[in-house]
Symmetry: C2
Subunit: 254 residues, 2 copies
């Protein structure tokens, strides 16, 4: 029966018109019934932000057999929360964010609206996956990622992910993918993050930019290493951010 | 010498005019030289969001001995990044977010702009602490938290926090604080998250609201238990969100 196929909720942060989300829908459609609730405009760098100072709204864009598409005025995390509250008639089997136009590996997980979708899905107790391609171009080629995306989603639907965990999957921008590598988040930090521009003689305008300085370049376990070497980087990610290892030490402080 | 006192960067998400940040400045001023870079308006629920689609700017508001205050048009995380890039003449010894008007315990860590400040400070390699009070009122009473805030900040300045870890400190709204409890993030989820309003006959407007459903109510290790029982909840928090425990299992999947 139609309503017993897996239910998959899709959102992103590049907005409903991005190529990446269209490609994701195409890749995942064979796996189940798809509901899309995506931002009506780009929301890159939105992290898990929520809209708290104004109301949000959504609108039906398309309804076909097995595919229903809505756009929403909120953030990526809002989209997931609102879909659960309004348009989903049952708990989905999978929440998927992406495919992001750009890298969400390493510390970018903290800023990514794509991962905002995924973290929200995970917090709602649903297996969740974020997919990102290391290419910001609007016409980036997502095709080489397609079979991996379908395979990873199929595995997660079949086996499920443990509570409070989700997957952050990043693809290098190459046609020659070497396979999947299970990774840890690369350590390092962004530097030279602002470019200063003058506007009408006032030079106090700053645009975000930056370079990433990796602290463990030779760490073959890191997602950066995997991406630099042609692998699909699958980084298991937790939403329980308690630093358990620090608890005993802190207890001696107070 | 003045410039050898600890340098403390403060920001928040309620904005520069909030009572909470004024109180935080007052409590921490005895500990070192304070630089404030805070949003020019409320930015609650901003998480680690960054401003990527427009430039941001900042402005000096006040310069006294040991205290310099700027406001910034960006998000809480932007404020930290921009302060490091522009106004700080050396790496700070401490980054502090707050005092937030409202609870940032449990899963709220993911949505909190206050914790956005703290996570950004931590990613920059500086010991960082977020302080929040379980009271949303603009005129909330932060006074009982004062001595704890100073003591916790002093300890962190003295001992430092390990790399990739920071503190999320929440205060119950009481004058009778029972002491510090080292906690883990309470598990659970938000439900009934949207309130539906009609505007000009169109009922598709949703305001964020909700109730938190805790899954382990009797867990005496959780920050919720500590807050419900009158303790200051100190939750060590990691910015390395790799789910290390899941890596071996995932390796068998592919």
């Amino acid at each position: 029966m139609e309503n017993q196929r897996p239910l998959i909720l899709i959102s992103n942060d590049d907005g409903i018109i991005a190529k990446g989300i269209s490609e994701l829908i195409k890749f995942l459609r064979p796996l189940g019934e798809i509901v899309v609730m995506a931002p009506d405009a780009p929301r890159s760098g939105n992290a898990c932000a929520l809209t708290v100072t104004e109301p949000i709204h959504y609108q039906l864009l398309r309804k076909d057999v097995g595919l229903t598409v809505y756009k929403c005025s909120g953030t990526p995390a809002d989209c997931v929360k609102l879909a659960f509250h309004t348009v989903l008639d049952r708990k989905p089997d999978l929440v998927v964010g992406g495919i992001n136009h750009g890298d969400n590996s390493s510390v970018n997980v903290h800023y990514s609206g794509t991962m905002g979708v995924v973290i929200e899905g995970c917090l709602k107790g649903v297996s969740s996956i974020g997919f990102s391609l290391c290419n910001h171009a609007p016409d980036a080629d997502f095709e080489p990622a397609g079979e991996y995306i379908r395979e990873i989603a199929r595995k997660v639907l079949e086996k499920g992910l443990p509570p409070l965990t989700c997957l952050n999957v990043n693809f290098p921008d190459t046609k020659e993918l070497k396979g999947v590598k299970i990774c840890e988040q690369a350590k390092g930090q962004w530097t030279n993050e602002w470019e200063n521009f003058a506007h009408r003689g006032d030079a106090h305008y700053y645009w975000l930019t930056g370079e990433f300085e990796e602290s463990e370049k030779e760490n073959e376990k890191s997602d950066h290493w995997a991406l630099a070497n042609g692998y699909v980087a699958v980084t298991p990610t937790t939403v329980d951010v308690t630093a358990y290892g620090l608890m005993d030490e802190l207890k001696t402080w107070f």
